[in-house]
C-alpha cells in the first residue's frame, strides 16, 4: 500500500522526515517497506521565462534564448526545440542540475554559443502525457500554456510548481488489517502513533439531478449471503474529461494511472476510503435493473482488460436482466465501460463475501486491487460514506449531476463487538503494569468506544475479537520496546535430546571422523530418477507421494530412496572435478501406506564416495566403523538377497549389511550404467543404512573388561584354497576349529600368482591365542592351531601352504 504524504496531511498533520516517520510507523505496527521522494531525482530545475529568442548563426534549427530564472541577469540558453516563444514559462535545468535517470546538466558551448543550462520537456522530468494531458508532447513543456498550472513564479523550484514535491511511503499491510489499505485507515494509525488529532470529513452531496432514483434503478440480491450490502447512486449528464491536476497528482503518487474523471473518482475513493467502487454506463444496464447473482455455468463475460472469461456458479456477477455487466468485486465488464460519450453513470459501492471473491479471482487467475481488498473482509459500514464521497467529488469536479437518494440494500444485521476491558489480564499477558487510564486512552485514539470497562470495537476492526486482541492494541501504542525483558519463571523442565537424536549426533560425528562431509538434499525428486537408478518399472518402492501442484516435474514426488539424491550430488562434484569426495546425509524418505494418509518418514544414513584408489573395502570400513561405534552385535555382510533396489549396484561388488538377523542396509559400487545415467564415467560407491535398524542394532553400553594378566601367543598361518571360498567362510572355519584360546583373527594377505595354482589363492591370517588363567605354552598353542587347520581343511578344503 502506497501512501502520499500530502494526501495523508489532509487528515493528520505530521511534519516528521521520511526516515523518522517510517520508523515510528513500523514500531507501532504499520511496517514501512520504503519511502520515496517523488522529486528526488530532480535538482536545480526552476521555472524560467523566455525573454528573447534569436536564431543560432551556425545552426539551421537551434535558438538562442535569454531566460529569466529569477536570479539577477537573464541566462543564455541554447535550445533545439521549435515550440518556444518569447514570454513562455518553461522548466529550466540550470548549470549543475540533475534530471531523472541520473542525467546531469552542465553549462557548455553549443556550436560556439554558450548555453547555461537546458529547457526541458515533461518527459525529461520523468512525467507522462497522462499526468499533463494538455502538454505539447513533442518539445519543451510550455508551463504557461497549461490552464491548470496557475500561480507560477519565475525562479520557483519546478518540483513544487508541477506537484513533484510529494513523498510516498510504501507500507506492508498484514492481512488482518484491510482497513489500513486506505488513506483514512493509515491516517488513523498515524494519528494514534503521533497523538495528533484525526480530521475526518463528512461528504456532502447537493444532488438535484434529473429523475427519481427508484424509477431509474432497481437492485436485487438473490444471493444475500454473498452480498452483505449493496449501495448505489446515479449521476446524470456526465461530462467525461480529464480529472484535475490535484487528483491526478495524488493518484500518480499512489501508483494509479489517471484515466478520466469518473474512473479517477472511483480510484480516488477506493484509495481514500479503502472501499472498492465501480462505475458503469447506465445505458448498458438493460431495464435499469441490477441483479447481483451467481453466474450460470458457462456464462461468458469480457472484462475491462479485454479478456473473455467462461464463468461457473462459483462466480458472483453484476448483471442486468439479460446479461452480466461485471464480475462482482473483481473487475467491471467491457460491455458497460465508461467511454467518451457516457452520459449517465451508476456508482456501485458494495460489500461482497470475501471467500467467494477470493475463490472467483483465483479460479480466473485475476487478482485485482479490488478483489485483494474484498477477500480480506471489508467493513460493510463503509459503502455509504464512500458512494457519497464519490458523488461529492463529481459535483466538485463539475463532472455531472447527482440524482437524489441512495439505493442501499442491507443483507446483514450490524452487530458491534463489545468486549470487557480487564487491565489486570492484559498486564498479566504482556508482563507490564499499564494503568487502565492509559489503556483507555490508547483504545479511544483508535476510535474504540470505551465506557467504564465496556469497549465497543469499531466496525472496521473485524480483527479485534477478544482480550488478547485488545492487549495487542495496548502493546502497540505502549510500545513493544517498552515492555520489560524477563526470564521465565515456573516449574523447571528437563530438556534434552531423545535417544534417537543422540544416535543422529553420534552417527554424524563418526561419519565426519571418517572424513565424510555432510550434505542436505531436497526431499522431492523427479520420478525419472527411479529409472536412473535402475529400479524395475513395476517395483512397488516407486509408489510415492505425488505433489498435485509441484514447481516442476523435477520436484514433483516425495522420494522413497535417498540414493538418487546422493548420486546427483556426487555427480555434481564429479563434474566440478572435485577430487576424493566423501559425503553423507542423514535424511528422510517418505513411504506411503499409513492409515492416516500421512507418510512413514523413515530416516536413512546415506554414504557416497569416489576418488583415486577408493574401493569397496574403504566404504565397508566406514560402515564397520559406524556399527562398531554404536556397539552393534553380530555384524556381518552378505551378498544380494535379490531385492529390486539392488539393481542400482554392481552385482559383484555389493553387500547387504546385517546385525544378527536384521538387515541394516546395503553398500557397494554403483552399477556403471547407473553412474553413467548421472553423467559419471568413474566408480561411485554408496551405502544406505536404515536409521531405525541402526537404532535397533545399538549394543549395550560399554563395560570394563579386565586387561589380560597372561601373555598371548601369536601364530601366522597361510592356507591355499579355491578362489570361490570367501574370507568370511575361512574365518568362520577358523573360529569353529579354535578350542577356546583364540582371541583374535586378522586377515593380513591374499596372494595369487607364482607358486599358487591357477584358480586358487593363498590367504594368510594372524591368530592371537591367550588363556585368561595361565601363560600358554608353545605346545598348547600348536594344538589349537592344528585343530584350526583341520577345520579349515574340512570346511573349506583349505590346506596349509
Amino acid at each position: 500500500m502506497n501512501l502520499s504524504r500530502k494526501w495523508l496531511n489532509e487528515f493528520v498533520e505530521i511534519d516528521a522526515n521520511d526516515k523518522d516517520f517510517a520508523e515510528a510507523m513500523t514500531l507501532s505496527g504499520s511496517k514501512v517497506e520504503l519511502t520515496h521522494d517523488l522529486g528526488e531525482e530532480i535538482k536545480n530545475v526552476v521555472v524560467g521565462k523566455v525573454l528573447s529568442q534569436v536564431r543560432h548563426e551556425n545552426s539551421d534549427h537551434m535558438w538562442i534564448c535569454q531566460v529569466d530564472v529569477g536570479r539577477g541577469e537573464p541566462l543564455q540558453i541554447v535550445t533545439g526545440a521549435q515550440n518556444v516563444k518569447v514570454g513562455d514559462l518553461v522548466p529550466v535545468a540550470l548549470d549543475g542540475s540533475l534530471l531523472p535517470g541520473g542525467k546531469e546538466i552542465r553549462a557548455g558551448k553549443l556550436r560556439g554559443e554558450l548555453s547555461n543550462g537546458m529547457l526541458c520537456s515533461f518527459q525529461e522530468l520523468g512525467l507522462d502525457q497522462r499526468d499533463f494531458p494538455s502538454a505539447y508532447p513533442d518539445g519543451i513543456w510550455i508551463l504557461s500554456d497549461d490552464p491548470e498550472l496557475t500561480g507560477l513564479t519565475i525562479g520557483e523550484d519546478i518540483r513544487t510548481a508541477v506537484g513533484l514535491d510529494d513523498h510516498v511511503v510504501e507500507f506492508e499491510i498484514t492481512p488482518n488489517r484491510p482497513d489500513c489499505l486506505s488513506v483514512i485507515g493509515l491516517a488513523r494509525e498515524v494519528s494514534s502513533t503521533y497523538d495528533v488529532p484525526l480530521k475526518l470529513h463528512q461528504p456532502v452531496v447537493k444532488g438535484g439531478g434529473d429523475g427519481v432514483l427508484p424509477e431509474l434503478l432497481d437492485v436485487e440480491t438473490p444471493n444475500p449471503e454473498l452480498c452483505p450490502r449493496y449501495t448505489a447512486r446515479m449521476v446524470r449528464n456526465v461530462k467525461i474529461g480529464p480529472s484535475p491536476k490535484w487528483m491526478r497528482e495524488r493518484l500518480r503518487a499512489m501508483g494509479v494511472r489517471p484515466i478520466n474523471n469518473i474512473v479517477d473518482i472511483t480510484n480516488y475513493v477506493m484509495l481514500e476510503y479503502g472501499q472498492p467502487m465501480h462505475a458503469f454506463d447506465y445505458r448498458y444496464v438493460n431495464g435499469g435493473k441490477i441483479i447481483v447473482r451467481r453466474a450460470s455455468e458457462g456464462e461468458k463475460l469480457t472484462t475491462l482488460d479485454g479478456k473473455e472469461h467462461t464463468l461457473t456458479a462459483n462466480h458472483l456477477v453484476i448483471a442486468d436482466e439479460g446479461r452480466a455487466v461485471g464480475l462482482a468485486g473483481i473487475m467491471g465488464g467491457l460491455n458497460s465501460e465508461i467511454v467518451e460519450d457516457t452520459a449517465d453513470v451508476v456508482f456501485e459501492s458494495a460489500c461482497f463475501d470475501g471467500t467467494c471473491i477470493r475463490k472467483g479471482a483465483l479460479a480466473l487467475g485475476m487478482r485485482t486491487e479490488a478483489s485483494a481488498k474484498f477477500e480480506k473482509g471489508l467493513d460493510p459500514m463503509n459503502t455509504l460514506p464512500a458512494v457519497d464521497r464519490a458523488c461529492e467529488l463529481v459535483e466538485l469536479l463539475g463532472a455531472g449531476q447527482v440524482v437524489d437518494g441512495v439505493i442501499d440494500i442491507l443483507n446483514y444485521v450490524p452487530q458491534p463487538t463489545v468486549l470487557k476491558l480487564e487491565p489486570e489480564k492484559i498486564n498479566a499477558l504482556l508482563g507490564t503494569d499499564v494503568p487502565m487510564a492509559e489503556m483507555t486512552a490508547i483504545l479511544k485514539k483508535l476510535d474504540f468506544a470505551v465506557e467504564g470497562d465496556q469497549v465497543t470495537v469499531p466496525s472496521w476492526r473485524g480483527d479485534v475479537k477478544e482480550m488478547a486482541d485488545l492487549a495487542e492494541e495496548v502493546a502497540r501504542f505502549y510500545g513493544y520496546n517498552n515492555i520489560p525483558t524477563t526470564l521465565m519463571r515456573g516449574q523447571t523442565t528437563l530438556g534434552g535430546y531423545s535417544p534417537e537424536q543422540r544416535l543422529e549426533q553420534r552417527l554424524g560425528s563418526t561419519c565426519r571422523a571418517c572424513g565424510y562431509d555432510e550434505i542436505i538434499t531436497y526431499s522431492f525428486i523427479s520420478p525419472t530418477w527411479y529409472d536412473k537408478i535402475g529400479w524395475p518399472e513395476k517395483d512397488f518402492h516407486r509408489k510415492s507421494f505425488k505433489i498435485l501442484n509441484p514447481l516442476g516435474e523435477d520436484t514433483s514426488i516425495m522420494r522413497t530412496t535417498t540414493l538418487p539424491s546422493m548420486l546427483d550430488i556426487l555427480a555434481r562434484n564429479y563434474n566440478y572435478r572435485n577430487k576424493d569426495v566423501r559425503l553423507y546425509e542423514l535424511g528422510r524418505v517418505y513411504l506411503p501406506g499409513r492409515e492416516d494418509g500421512l507418510a512413514n518418514e523413515a530416516k536413512e544414513l546415506t554414504l557416497g564416495a569416489y576418488g583415486e584408489g577408493f574401493d569397496f573395502y574403504d566404504l565397508k570400513g566406514v560402515v564397520e566403523a559406524i556399527l562398531k561405534d554404536i556397539r552393534a552385535e553380530d555384524v556381518h555382510f552378505e551378498g544380494s538377497l535379490g531385492a529390486p533396489g539392488d539393481a542400482s549396484y554392481h552385482p559383484g561388488r555389493f553387500a547387504t549389511v546385517w546385525s544378527g538377523t536384521n538387515q541394516v542396509g546395503v553398500l557397494g559400487q554403483i552399477h556403471p550404467n547407473v553412474a553413467k545415467a548421472f553423467g559419471v564415467d568413474g566408480e561411485l560407491y554408496c551405502a544406505e543404512l536404515s536409521f531405525d535398524e541402526l537404532m535397533n542394532a545399538r549394543g549395550a553400553g560399554a563395560e570394563y573388561v579386565p586387561l589380560p594378566k597372561f601373555p598371548s601367543v601369536t601364530r601366522d598361518i597361510a592356507v591355499v584354497c579355491d578362489e570361490a571360498i570367501t574370507v568370511g567362510a575361512l574365518e568362520q572355519a577358523i573360529r569353529r576349529g579354535a578350542r577356546g584360546l583364540l582371541k583374535e583373527v586378522a586377515l593380513f594377505d591374499i596372494y595369487r600368482g607364482k607358486g599358487i595354482d591357477e584358480g586358487k589363492k593363498s590367504v594368510a591370517f594372524n591368530l592371537v591365542l591367550r588363556s585368561d588363567d595361565r601363560s600358554l605354552t608353545s605346545e598348547e598353542a600348536d594344538e589349537d592351531v592344528k585343530s584350526i587347520l583341520a577345520a579349515l581343511e574340512q570346511d573349506c578344503g583349505a590346506k596349509l601352504r
Binding site: 513500523t26 507501532s28 505496527g29 511496517k31 498484514t174 492481512p175 488482518n176 470475501g354 471467500t355 477470493r358 499477558l429 504482556l430 508482563g431 477478544e466 488478547a468 486482541d469 492487549a471 495487542e472 502493546a475 513493544y480 520496546n481 515492555i483 520489560p484 525483558t485 524477563t486 526470564l487 521465565m488 516449574q491 523442565t493 528437563l494 530438556g495 534434552g496 535430546y497 537424536q501 554424524g508 565426519r512 562431509d517 555432510e518 550434505i519 542436505i520 538434499t521 531436497y522 526431499s523 522431492f524 505425488k546 505433489i547 498435485l548 516425495m558 550430488i569 555434481r572 562434484n573 572435485n578 559425503l583 553423507y584 517418505y590 492416516d596 494418509g597 500421512l598 507418510a599 518418514e601
Partner: protein
C-alpha cells in the same frame, strides 16, 4: 715427586680438555691412569718415601687421581653432548613441508547454526521435537487459527497431495506446536527444527524447501516480557553479547499479540548499509503470545495457561552467521563449499 704429580695433573687436565673423540679420550685415560700409565708410574715410587712423607704424598696422589677421573668423566659427557648435537643437526627436516593431515569430515553449515540454537534452548530445559513434513492441513492451518481464506493456503503458495487440502507439505514448523499440545503434559517447553516447503522458485534467497526452528512455551504466568527476555538471550548467543534487538508488531494467525524481532545490523551498527539494505536492522524471527483460540482448540484453558512461540528461518540465520551470499550454495553441496566450515 710432588713436582711430578703437579706436572702430570696440569698436562693431563689440559689434554682432557682438548680431547676431540671418545677414542682419543680412551687413549689418554690409559696414558695417565692405565696400569702402565704416568700416574701409576709415579705411585709406584711411593714405597721409596719415608713414613712421615707418605701420608701427605698419598693424599696428594689421590687428589690428583680423582681430579683426573672427574675430568675424564666431564670430557666424556662433553663428547657425548657434541655427538648428540651433531646427530640432531643431521636429522633436521624442512618444517614448512605440509603435514600429513587426516581427512576430516565437515558438518553442514546450516546444521552448525542449528546445533548452536538447540544448545541454547536445551540449556533452558527445552525438549527437541521432530515431526512429520507431510502434514495434515488441519494441523498446519485450522488448528493454528488460519481462516479458510488465509493467503498461505493458496495453491500458488503451498504444496498439496489431494484436492481437499487434507494432506500437504507443511509450510511451517508451527504444526509442531499443536502436536506438542496434543501429546505432552503441561507445562511445555519445546523447540522443533525441521524442513518446510513453500512454492517459491529457486533463487539467491528462495528455495521451495528450507528449514525452520519452532519454539514454544506453555506455562502458568508466561508473559510477553518472558518472550522478549528469552529471544534476546538467543540473539546474544548467536550474534554475540550486547547484540541489540528490537520488537515490531506483526501479524500471525496463531499468535496475539504478534511480533517480529530484528537484530541491529552488526556491520553498520544500525546506521544502514548494504548488508541490512539500508534499514539498520535485520529481521531474525517472528513470534508472539499463543492465540487463545489455538490453546482452546487443544483443550487448554487460556484463562489458566498462557504461552509464547517463535519461528525462525535457519537458512537465513546460517547465511548471516557465515556470510553466505547465495542460498543455492546450501543445497548445491559442492565440497569446496562444505569444507570451509
Amino acid at each position: 715427586m710432588k713436582e711430578q704429580l703437579a706436572k702430570i695433573k696440569t698436562e693431563a687436565l689440559a689434554a682432557f680438555e682438548a680431547v676431540a673423540s671418545p677414542a682419543a679420550l680412551d687413549e689418554l685415560r690409559v696414558k695417565y691412569l692405565g696400569k702402565k700409565g704416568e700416574l701409576t708410574a709415579v705411585l709406584k715410587q711411593m714405597g721409596r718415601l719415608s713414613a712421615e712423607e707418605r701420608p701427605a704424598m698419598g693424599a696428594l696422589a689421590n687428589e690428583v687421581r680423582s681430579s683426573l677421573e672427574g675430568a675424564i668423566e666431564e670430557a666424556a659427557k662433553k663428547l657425548e653432548g657434541a655427538a648428540m648435537e651433531a646427530r640432531l643437526k643431521a636429522e633436521t627436516i624442512d618444517v614448512t613441508v605440509p603435514g600429513n593431515t587426516p581427512k576430516q569430515g565437515h558438518k553442514h553449515p546450516m546444521y552448525i547454526a542449528l546445533d548452536e540454537i538447540k544448545d541454547v534452548f536445551v540449556g533452558m530445559g527445552f525438549t527437541v521435537l521432530d515431526g512429520p513434513e507431510i502434514e495434515l492441513g488441519e494441523l498446519n492451518f485450522d488448528r493454528l487459527n488460519a481462516e479458510p481464506g488465509h493467503p498461505s493456503r493458496d495453491w500458488s503458495d503451498t504444496f498439496y497431495f489431494d484436492t481437499d487440502e487434507r494432506v500437504m507439505l507443511r509450510s511451517q514448523t508451527s504444526p509442531m506446536q499443536v502436536r506438542a499440545m496434543d501429546t505432552m503434559p503441561l507445562p511445555i517447553r519445546i523447540i522443533a527444527p525441521g524442513r518446510v516447503y513453500r512454492k517459491d522458485e529457486v533463487d539467491a534467497t528462495h528455495s521451495p524447501m528450507f528449514h525452520q526452528v519452532e519454539g514454544m512455551v506453555i506455562d502458568k504466568h508466561v508473559t510477553m516480557a518472558d518472550l522478549k527476555g528469552t529471544l534476546n538471550l538467543l540473539a546474544e548467543e548467536l550474534f554475540g553479547k550486547g547484540t541489540v534487538t528490537r520488537f515490531r508488531p506483526h501479524h500471525f494467525p496463531f499468535t496475539e499479540p504478534s511480533c517480529e524481532m530484528d537484530v541491529q545490523c552488526h556491520k553498520c551498527g544500525g546506521v544502514g548499509c548494504p548488508t541490512c539494505k539500508g534499514e539498520g536492522w535485520i529481521e531474525l524471527l517472528g513470534a508472539g503470545m499463543i492465540h487463545p483460540n489455538v490453546l482452546r482448540m487443544a483443550g487448554i484453558d487460556p484463562e489458566e495457561w498462557s504461552g509464547w512461540a517463535f519461528g525462525m528461518g535457519l537458512e537465513r540465520t546460517a547465511m548471516r552467521r557465515f556470510k553466505i551470499a547465495d542460498l543455492r550454495l546450501i543445497f548445491e553441496n559442492d565440497v569446496r563449499f562444505l569444507e570451509q566450515f
